[in-house]
């Protein structure tokens, strides 16, 4: 009996936690399953099943407008999350674990400001500001969207990193410094690995947030700069067809494939 009890006991097990986690994962994927199913819908509807067909994949494959929008979304999301995570990591290092100094609260409020106003307000503000730059310089490239996305992604990257850093032990870094490690080396070899899960969490959030943005993109975009969400917004008034489900499913498969490959490769090396 004692044997049995010890085997079952785990320090990390909390009653009910695994069950709730399992339910969460099931609930998260239930809509994704219906999304994939409806991508094979023969009818024009995302709500009414009309039999099995792969025709929407063919239609999506032909539609260059939507393909370009998808690629554009990904380019923006990758660039913006990389920029946002970099500056957010630095800011998190600058605002935690160093005791109080003047202006700390101001920095904190400024970094989180994009969270605090509805998107439409930032969108109008950016439209007016960027439009004047566009008129003055004549340049209307994708950079405006990348900069706008980077900015509103900052708090989403910053907060998880900060949560990781807060109250984190300084012993290892002090030890490294005691052993005459340079500050940069200490950062690269000690602080950064300790921070990695926070950075990963922040980068993932920033990526997802950028990928989903509609309102700010709608106002900042120039000619020929539709992203997948603004394309969808335009469709909303008329009718949304399973074409977008097909694109979502294709992207889903691609990511899962790439991730599996990535994990297999890193495992082999490890």
């Amino acid at each position: 009996m004692a044997e049995f009890g010890r085997r079952k006991f785990s320090a990390t097990a909390l009653p009910g936690f695994s069950t709730v986690a399992a339910i969460t994962f099931i609930v998260l994927y239930a809509p994704i399953v219906t999304l994939v199913i409806y991508s094979f819908n023969a009818s024009d509807s995302v709500a009414l099943w009309g039999g099995f067909s792969a025709k929407w994949y063919g239609i999506a494959w032909q539609n260059t407008h939507v393909q370009e929008a998808t690629i554009r979304s990904i380019i923006i999301a990758v660039s913006a999350s990389a920029i946002a995570t970099t500056v957010a990591t630095m800011a998190a290092l600058g605002t935690t674990r160093r005791g109080k100094y003047s202006g700390q609260t101001l920095i904190y409020i400024m970094i989180n400001q994009p969270l605090m106003v509805p998107e439409i307000v930032t969108a109008v503000a950016l439209l007016i500001f960027f439009a004047s730059i566009k008129v003055a310089t004549g340049y209307t490239g994708l950079i405006y969207l990348i900069v706008a996305h980077s900015a509103f992604c900052v708090p989403f990257a910053y907060l998880p990193i900060r949560a990781r850093l807060e109250g984190m032990d300084l012993t290892l870094e002090t030890a490294a410094a005691d052993l005459y490690s340079t500050p940069f080396r200490t950062f690269r070899r000690v602080t950064l690995p300790l921070l990695a899960p926070g950075i990963a969490a922040g980068a993932m959030l920033a990526f997802v947030i950028s990928l989903d943005d509609v309102v700010i993109t709608e106002f900042v975009k120039s000619a020929g700069q539709d992203t997948l969400p603004t394309y969808m917004l335009g469709q909303l008034r008329r009718a949304v067809t399973p074409e977008v489900n097909a694109i979502a499913t294709a992207l889903l498969c691609l990511t899962v494939l790439l991730l599996t490959l990535f994990f297999l490769l890193t495992r082999k090396r490890g």
Binding site: A47, H65, A131, K134, F219, L233, G234, L236, R238
Partner: protein, 342 residues
């Protein structure tokens, strides 16, 4: 090979649109432009056309007014064409002197928002009425009572599209008003009361009408005629009603922007869509009428007789074009709308 292809695509995307010869940037409502029409135009004139979407007249106006957008052509609705013109945002391209203007239906030449067609060419026009699933309700559907004083069979299963201007206009007509921008407080008060009283019978205020009407999730909805047409093709029991009390008409028109970079191509496009065959392509895609004579001959067969496209003569007169209301009236509409959705 593939890598360089992707890289160059990425580079092109980041570099932004260079305004060289042979380009045209159209800023239009989403899912509204027939890709075959664009392909035909591109091949005929050796022009690369880029379509960018918007979802409301106000978004389009705000963006165009801010400048630096890079668009050549915009397609605003009737009420907004006048605002665009008054603000000096449109180029006077004189479509009335273009070659294909001979095909223009005279009905649409002297319109309030562009007298004599000095700026714009019709894209599509339609009406906002009510769509009803007649398997649930067999009474008269040519009335706004469908959603403003709903019969028991429909209560709780009605959708109203969240278009403030259209819904306000229908309510005002329903209570006896003749002008959707009326300043008559008595009429406005009645309109508010009828809307507030009807609201509990509504299930939702949303778009996506075509889908949910054909699936039967909504039994009735305030809806556009073309959308109802597409719903009927999927589910024959869905019918379109033209409210006898009055209903809004709208027309989206193609205009060239004052700060357009590709003016000549934009003018070519205006002329191009006044060709009956091309106008028919526009209608075949989104299922609304155009304003070009002779285009019927090239339309899909099911459109020629569709009751959604061809209103019965006795109800045609009840349709009215609505202007964008003056600021003071607009504020009252917004206040009523807010009260409705609080």
């Amino acid at each position: 090979m593939k890598k360089t292809l992707i890289l160059s695509a990425v580079a092109a995307l980041i570099a932004g649109a260079a305004h060289a010869e042979g380009e045209l940037n159209i800023y239009n409502w989403g899912n509204y432009t027939n890709p075959d029409l664009i392909k035909k135009f591109e091949e005929a004139y050796d022009v690369k056309v880029t379509i960018t979407d918007y979802d409301s007249n106000t978004t389009a106006l705000t963006k165009v007014e801010a400048g630096g957008h890079g668009f050549d052509i915009v397609v605003p609705s009737n009420g907004y064409v006048k605002i665009f013109i008054d603000k000096g945002l449109l180029l006077e391209t004189r479509p009335d002197q273009m070659e294909n203007f001979k095909n223009m239906d005279p009905t649409w030449v002297n319109v309030g928002w562009d007298m004599g067609r000095h700026y714009t060419v019709p894209w599509q026009w339609g009406s906002t009425g009510v769509a009803v699933n007649t398997s649930t309700y067999s009474g008269d559907i040519n009335t706004s009572a469908i959603f403003l004083d709903p019969p028991a069979e429909l209560a709780g299963k009605i959708n109203v599209v969240p278009e403030m201007a259209d819904v306000m206009a229908m309510a005002i007509y329903y209570v006896g008003g003749t002008d959707s921008c009326t300043e008559d407080k008595e009429i406005l008060k009645k309109a508010r009361d009828v809307l507030v009283a009807a609201k509990p019978s509504w299930l939702s205020m949303d778009y996506g009408t075509t889908d949910k009407l054909s699936s039967g999730e909504w039994v009735a909805s305030v809806n556009w005629n073309g959308s109802t047409f597409r719903a009927r093709l999927a589910n024959p029991t869905v019918q379109y009603g033209y409210p006898v009390e009055g209903y809004p008409l709208w027309m989206d028109s193609v205009a060239v922007l004052a700060d357009a970079k590709n003016v000549e191509n934009a003018k070519l496009f205006q002329n191009f869509i006044m060709d009956p065959e091309n106008a028919a392509m526009i209608s075949a895609f989104a299922r609304y009428s155009n304003g070009i004579m002779g285009s019927d001959a090239f339309m899909p067969a099911d459109m020629k007789t569709a009751p959604e496209i061809n209103p019965p003569a006795e109800l045609a007169a009840a349709g009215k074009f609505a202007e964008a209301c003056p600021k003071a009236v607009q504020d009252i509409h917004t206040a009523i709308w807010t009260e409705l959705q609080k």
